[in-house]
């Protein structure tokens, strides 16, 4: 997982694939792909390819409600540079939420409605939204608000919707142990032998008939 980059990529991929239709009298409708951009595309590109959608990251907040302390070795947190077949241990990551603004721009009211329909119907539902990220985790995705703002610029209508969404995420902090050295901590007790103690090792209690002192321990690596 790469914090932010993974979520950005997943969100862009989720929003891609929307299609709107141009309807002309007496002709079969033709389709247009809705472009998805981070921030605003260049003016030249934008003029040629309405409608389009932009993604802006507008806030990052620590999510105290999900905060926990401790250690973990969950697979999805495994660092990319960790050696294969070795364990790793990390601090529990700091939960955050990322707030994105998804803005749609279109010139035709029908395109505008088609985009809203696809966004709120499939991509960014008002409840039970989810975002699948490349690390195989499924993040919570909440649609917080939909703000409609249609404007007229240079005597042409522009249909704008600003949708605020929230995606759960985590920031990985310290590595507790260097994964390359962890084998030194992985010894397990294979066998423990307690031999019958000699009188001299009975802790000065040889006069107590039922007492057996500790004998020799042998701890060996597996």
């Amino acid at each position: 997982m790469t914090f932010l980059l993974s979520e950005d990529k997943a969100l862009r991929e989720k929003l891609q694939g929307m299609i709107v239709h141009d309807q002309k009298a007496g002709l079969a409708s033709t389709t247009r792909q809705v472009g998805v951009w981070f921030g605003q595309p260049d003016q030249e590109i934008r003029d040629q390819s309405y409608p389009y959608v932009t993604i802006d990251l507008v806030d990052i907040q620590r999510d105290n409600a999900r905060e926990m302390r401790g250690l973990t070795s969950d697979v999805y947190l495994k660092p990319d540079d960790a050696p294969a077949n070795k364990i790793f241990i990390v601090d529990l990551p700091i939960p955050v939420f990322l707030e994105y603004q998804v803005t749609t721009y279109s010139r035709h009211p029908r395109h505008d409605r088609e985009i809203i329909s696809q966004l709120l119907g499939k991509k960014l539902p008002l409840r039970a939204g989810a975002l699948e990220v490349e690390d195989k985790t499924v993040r919570r995705l909440d649609t917080l608000s939909v703000n409609k703002r249609d404007v007229t610029e240079q005597a042409r209508r522009l249909f704008v919707n600003a949708i605020t969404i929230r995606v759960s995420s985590e920031i990985l902090q310290n590595f507790v142990d260097d994964p390359t050295n962890l084998t030194t901590y992985r010894y397990t007790v294979n066998r423990v032998n307690v031999s019958n103690p000699a009188t001299s090792r009975q802790g000065g209690r040889s006069s107590v008939p039922d007492y057996y002192g500790t004998g020799n321990f042998t701890i060996s690596a597996p």
Binding site: G39, Q40, R46, D56, V58, D59, Q61, E99, Q101, T103, Y105, N147, R149, V151, L158, V160, A162, T164
Partner: protein, 103 residues
């Protein structure tokens, strides 16, 4: 109980002035137009706090908050809404002064 609820309402309304200052400072720092900054306020209505831009500056305010084709969003109002600590500090200090001697 009724008396206590009235005090809560009173403290909430009193703390909106402080919250308004906080949100205006943030808007100013983000480069919002002065007219928009002066039209931005935190209000308490129906048991909820909300930050609003009212009057003729609301169109410009929308552009500052949500951006447009030439400028990115600044999300000052939404960021303030995500930061309950800033508001709760103000509210609690007003509440403390109001309930003093009641309990």
């Amino acid at each position: 109980m009724e008396k206590f609820l009235k005090v809560l309402d009173k403290a909430a309304i009193a703390s909106t002035d402080h919250m308004t200052k906080q949100v205006r400072n943030r808007a100013e720092d983000a480069g919002w137009d002065k007219e928009v900054v002066q039209s931005t306020a935190v209000v308490y209505d129906g048991g909820k706090f909300s930050a609003k831009i009212e009057g003729p500056a609301s169109d410009k305010g929308f552009v500052h908050e949500f951006g447009d084709q030439t400028s990115p969003p600044t999300a000052i109002l939404r960021q303030y809404g995500n930061d309950p600590q800033a508001a709760s500090d103000a509210f609690l200090s007003y509440l403390e002064s109001e309930v003093k001697g009641m309990l």
